[in-house]
């Protein structure tokens, strides 16, 4: 069943690896970044908004802290939070999507939930939850991103699971009296590996967007933490004095979002490419 999607011809697999590699490298760099930072991230090294040169190749930020060190250190929390959201959303959507395909009543509830959620822009949703839960911190951001992402993801999995759920061997197992969880875990989900991998990539992109935007709107990491989005907000006042204090974290977020999205798009199984791309 899965053979057609898993066995890819060698050149195609080579191309796929090339498209996924930049995203993997950038994620690894962001995770390892704090260990590579040459200076402390919370102590001034230069004058405020000092131009690049000498000790600080990207200059200083609004308090004279080393921009290079803060950029190296400022990606880990974004990447870890986004990965956590992507894992949680994909896992919940996998189970709920497979159940929706097997039990149409559940599927209809999920459809309605997605219809309601369409009326709530994700950025406003994350503000709603973080402002209503002032002490929530990172947990509030993760919770908000989770609930804002799950209905769409379930819709995608349910769509991919429908043909599997209707296939002879699943029906045979259902008639044979197998329990629902057995059908979900042993019969349906193993055939959706390619879809789930692509979904994980797409949810990671969506999470990077949301978590970074939350950081920029100052409802995510709080100063003096080093965080790419927060750095852009904090240093925008000195953009004329040292553009690198804003430009470097912008490039970092931009490259991360672009490379992960290109990797996720390459992972989407050919058979699953619908007219409306699912994000």
């Amino acid at each position: 069943m899965t053979d057609t999607t898993v066995t890819v011809a060698a050149p195609a697999r080579h191309r796929l690896a090339l498209r996924v590699l930049p995203a993997l490298l950038l994620t690894a760099l962001a995770l390892a970044g704090p260990w590579l930072a040459p200076h402390a991230i919370d102590a001034p090294v230069t004058a405020p908004y000092a131009e690049p040169g000498g000790e600080a190749p990207f200059g200083g930020d609004q308090l004279g802290r080393d921009v290079l060190s803060r950029v190296l250190a400022g990606g880990r929390e974004l990447v870890v939070t986004s990965l956590l959201v992507a894992v949680l959303v994909t896992a919940a959507a996998a189970v709920l999507g497979a159940v929706s395909a097997l039990r149409p009543a559940v599927g209809r509830i999920v459809e309605r939930a997605a219809d309601v959620l369409m009326l709530l822009p994700a950025v406003l949703g994350i503000l709603l939850i973080t402002l209503s839960w002032p002490d929530g911190g990172r947990l509030a951001v993760v919770t908000a991103s989770f609930f804002l992402g799950v209905p769409y993801a379930v819709r995608l999995v349910a769509g991919a699971a429908a043909p599997v759920a209707a296939s002879g061997y699943v029906e045979a197992a259902a008639i044979g009296g197998e329990r629902l969880w057995y059908l979900v875990v042993r019969e349906v989900l193993p055939n959706l590996r390619a879809t789930l991998l692509a979904l994980f990539g797409l949810r990671f992109v969506a999470a990077v967007y949301l978590v970074a935007t939350a950081g920029f709107l100052q409802v995510g990491p709080q100063p003096p933490a080093a965080d790419w989005a927060l750095m852009i907000r904090e240093n925008s006042g000195g953009i004329l004095l040292n553009p690198w204090a804003v430009l470097a974290p912008s490039i970092a977020i931009g490259l991360l979002a672009m490379s992960v999205n290109l990797a996720a798009a390459a992972l989407v199984p050919m058979t699953g490419r619908k007219a409306v791309p699912a994000l």
Partner: protein, 332 residues
């Protein structure tokens, strides 16, 4: 909305009175369904604000304030009333334009009445630009499927659709405002609180629209590719019709429902992104109100903004339903 549906039906000579009633009924059904979904959203918003720890009186409390002061403010803001009573007030107040009271005791509707039209202007212009640019790029890419141009457009669209708006905005400000000095980086306002000139709108609209153009270009391109597989298109090509005519008379009308659905999805992204972009350009919209709400942890304000935004998106989705009904009706 029932009126527009009936006019379409009149174009067809075969349409009888029964068909007209049917169209009107199904249109009414769509409206009722959309309003119900909106009501559910508003109930969810109330529940989220209510169930999460922390309330408006708590959020604005000064350091060293006594428990009695806090209870006093809770009473002033009406937070000590029973949950069901407050829920009823919230749901019944919304249709009359009452969006509740902010943590500082101001009416949320008054707070939003001046900035919200500015945000709608920004979002509307961005939606228009998204429509024009994505249809043009999608058609351009679809002209030679699989060619270098098609691949370049598709790859760049995929690359930019995931970019957060504030990253795009930073790039635009650096290039067009600081290095070339062509456009203003900060929005100046008139006495009535609206942007002083059209130049102020260019960069915010671009920053909002660019990621959405990426997203919608992919949708247009994919919808055209799906439509090109239809048998009547093949016949038109074999009949030797000019390419431009096939595109405008056969491909685009067929792809219209998908393109509209994509744009409707973008409306939410544009209104959410507007909050971010307005902060960067100091644009006088709801973003500036929300920036204050973030500092005060003022949840009633964000709940009010979500309610108004929900109404706008419901309107756009209704328009999209209408276009879909019209497109499929014309084909039947």
């Amino acid at each position: 909305m029932a009126g527009s549906l009936t006019t379409t039906a009149q174009h067809e000579p075969a349409a009888g009175a029964g068909r007209l009633t049917h169209a009107a009924l199904s249109a009414a059904g769509v409206v009722v369904r959309r309003i119900l979904l909106l009501a559910v959203l508003l109930a969810v918003v109330f529940a989220a604000v209510e169930l999460l720890p922390g309330d408006a009186a708590n959020a604005t409390s000064e350091r060293g304030e006594s428990a009695a002061d806090l209870a006093e403010r809770r009473h002033l803001l009406g937070l000590d009333r029973p949950v069901l009573e407050r829920f009823w007030d919230w749901m019944t107040g919304l249709p009359t334009g009452d969006l509740g009271t902010s943590a500082r005791g101001e009416s949320v509707a008054d707070l939003l009445s001046r900035p919200f039209p500015n945000t709608l202007l920004l979002g509307g212009l961005a939606l228009l630009l998204t429509l024009v640019a994505s249809v043009a790029l999608g058609c351009w890419a679809a002209a030679k499927p699989g060619g270098p141009l098609d691949r370049a457009v598709s790859a760049s669209a995929t690359g930019i659709l995931a970019l957060p708006e504030f990253v795009v905005a930073v790039a635009l400000v650096l290039v067009f405002a600081l290095w070339t000095d062509w456009l203003p980086a900060v929005t100046l306002t008139d006495a009535d609180g609206s942007p002083a000139s059209w130049e102020m709108l260019v960069l915010p609209v671009l920053a909002l629209a660019i990621p959405q153009i990426g997203w919608n270009t992919r949708i247009v391109r994919a919808a055209l590719a799906d439509e090109a597989k239809a048998p009547h298109i093949e016949t038109a090509v074999l009949d030797g019709l000019p390419r431009g005519r096939i595109l405008t008379h056969h491909l685009l009308p067929g792809a219209l429902p998908t393109i509209t659905a994509g744009l409707a999805t973008s409306t939410g992204m544009l209104l959410g992104g507007a909050v971010v972009v307005e902060t960067i350009f100091n644009y006088p919209g709801i973003g500036s109100v929300l920036a204050g709400a973030v500092a005060d942890r003022d949840s009633p304000v964000i709940a009010g903004v979500v309610a108004v935004t929900g109404v706008v998106i419901t309107g756009v989705l209704l328009l999209a339903d209408l276009v879909r009904a019209w497109a499929s009706g014309g084909r039947a």
